[in-house]
């Protein structure tokens, strides 16, 4: 039996929006998943984003905190993907 999925809206920042639009809808397990698993799901569901995600240079921001790949995300979290930053 397939696990129930829920939709998570992900904001794509910087150059990632050029590839995947400003927002991506990703189906994730109802009980959430790790950021590493989320990256895999995004790559499956939005193949155009697979390349930047495997670069190792994209970080996830969950509820306004940049998190490590083992952090968990749930439906309802405010998730964004950050490509390399550059101020100044």
């Amino acid at each position: 039996m397939e696990e129930t999925r829920v939709m998570l809206e992900i904001e794509l920042c910087g150059r990632l929006a050029d590839v995947g639009g400003a927002l991506a809808q990703i189906a994730i397990p109802e009980n959430g998943c790790s950021v590493a698993e989320l990256f895999g799901l995004i790559a499956q569901q939005h193949p155009a984003l697979a390349h930047p995600l495997v670069s190792g240079r994209v970080r996830a921001c969950v509820n306004e905190t940049i998190v490590t790949p083992d952090a968990r995300v749930m439906a309802g979290d405010e998730v964004a993907l950050f490509p390399p930053v550059s101020g100044g």
Partner: protein, 153 residues
């Protein structure tokens, strides 16, 4: 001991900021300022119409504040001021302003230098140069990373 950090959505005047910073001094002998201005031409010489800086909610300001706090902790400075634009910036306009004050000029120089190196590589902004016929995302250069690396020792 104070750090004041602002994410600016409109054009600002570096001279005015230096004036206000100087006015607030409490006897420090040394003030260093850095201003970064948007360029009118890309590295390959092509004209730039605007530099566009994207930021992300509270995270951008928090990243700026963390850098200012690190500078306050690391160098013998008594105050610092950091202002960074977000949004669309015309050539010549200021992108970033940093000021530091200290009893010692070396600390003031190093802290301003450090803050700029960190802003270039760690502040949460994404920037692109726009011209009529192209958009180009700008990431930190290897020089920027090398500059930031100097402070790791």
């Amino acid at each position: 001991m104070s750090a004041e950090v602002t994410l600016a959505t409109k054009e600002f005047d570096p001279a005015e900021l230096l004036g206000a910073f100087t006015h607030g001094l409490g006897g420090e002998g040394a003030v260093v300022s850095f201003t970064g201005h948007a360029r009118g031409a890309a590295k390959d010489g092509a004209a730039i119409e605007a530099l566009v800086l994207e930021s992300y909610r509270g995270v951008t300001l928090a990243s700026m504040k963390a850098i200012a706090a690190d500078a306050m902790a690391r160098f013998d400075i008594s105050r610092c001021r950091v202002v960074h634009r977000t949004g669309r910036i015309a050539p010549g306009e200021a992108i970033v302003f940093v000021a530091t004050a200290s009893a010692h000029r070396r600390a003031a120089f190093e802290a301003a230098d450090f803050i700029m190196d960190r802003l270039k590589t760690e502040a949460v902004f994404w920037k692109r140069e726009e011209s009529p016929d192209r958009k180009r995302w700008i990431e930190p250069t290897s020089g920027d990373h090398a500059d930031a690396q100097r402070w790791q020792e």
